[in-house]
């Protein structure tokens, strides 16, 4: 972490990078809940990027599997309504605007899987309506 984690306000938009394997091939809901389940890398929270500081195409291109990502936009206000928060987490060498959703860290998900699964499902539903980058873009 570089400096204190500042909360991000409700009027901001954040971008979530989503691997194409977590997108439905034909179904009406494009993004599947697995897209918001934290990995072992997400020790301190689920990674997102502030849309005011970075472009969706940059977020997609910066992943370790470029060309395989969708990017969805989420309003911080909507996240707050789900009981989530977003905190700034700028990292040296990373894209600007890196931020975390601490409630969706790997350890938190393991501890509270049953309740967090419902939140994650709602995130996937919201994200499906706000795709801002596709792998073929």
């Amino acid at each position: 972490m570089n400096g204190p984690r500042r909360p991000i306000t409700a009027d901001e938009i954040v971008l979530r990078r989503i691997h194409q394997n977590h997108c439905a091939r034909d179904g009406p809901q494009l993004i599947l809940p697995a897209a918001f389940r934290p990995t072992g890398d997400d020790v301190e929270g689920l990674s997102v990027f502030r849309a005011s500081l970075v472009l969706a195409a940059q977020v997609a291109a910066a992943g370790r599997k470029p060309g395989e990502y969708f990017v969805a936009a989420l309003s911080v206000g909507a996240l707050l309504q789900l009981g989530l928060t977003v905190v700034a987490d700028d990292q040296p060498g990373d894209l600007p605007g890196h931020a975390l959703i601490p409630e969706l860290s790997g350890p938190a998900y393991q501890q509270g899987k049953k309740s967090l699964k419902l939140i994650v499902a709602e995130l996937a539903r919201i994200a499906s309506q706000h795709i801002v980058h596709r792998p073929d873009a």
Binding site: R17, H19, N21, H22, A24, R25, D26, G27, P28, Q29, L32, P33, A34, R37, P38, T39, G40, D41, D42, S47, G63, R64, K65, E68, K114, K117, L118, A121, E122, R125
Partner: protein
């Protein structure tokens, strides 16, 4: 036959008991070209999961656990024998070694998470309703099927 979930959820859990002869008839019906093609895609997707390694998503995801893959394969093979069974629309890898069988219809998403050897964790989201989740054991074969022609989906366990 028993029903475990209310029909207003457009999903029901029913448990028809069947004889070996009925299962053979079901298997013959399931072998129709359209059905075979849909199930073939499911098996293909399961095979593709074998190719995934740790960090397959570039974001730290673990490779699917072989035991979960074996459970999923056995389950799909069992489901395929039943003509009323709807093949999942997609098989999706999780990020912690688990995998998901996913069924979708407009306004409805049903997901079966295979992350342990003894149970399947289900999640059902229907537009305008709170999501529901429940577990089923792996000692009984569960099917997802239509209850009626105008019914999007039902999930049914079968006890051979």
């Amino acid at each position: 036959m028993s029903t475990l979930l209310a029909s207003d959820a457009r999903i029901s859990l029913v448990s028809p008991l069947t004889s070996a002869g009925a299962a053979e008839t079901a298997a013959r019906k399931a072998a129709s070209p359209a059905g075979a093609s849909a199930w073939g895609k499911v098996f293909e997707q399961l095979q593709q999961l074998h190719q995934l390694h740790d960090d397959w998503d570039g974001q730290g995801a673990k490779a699917p656990e072989p035991s979960n893959l074996a459970s999923a394969l056995a389950w799909v093979q069992g489901m395929r024998l039943w003509p009323q069974a709807l093949p999942p629309d997609q098989v999706t890898p999780g990020v912690a070694g688990e995998m998901y069988l996913v069924w979708q219809r407009p306004g409805l998403l049903l997901e079966a998470e295979i992350c342990r050897s003894d149970a399947v964790e289900w999640l059902l989201t229907i537009e305008g309703q709170p999501p529901r989740q429940w577990e089923t054991g792996q000692d009984i074969l569960w099917l997802v099927a239509r209850l009626a022609d105008d019914s999007p989906l039902s999930a049914a366990p079968v006890q051979p």
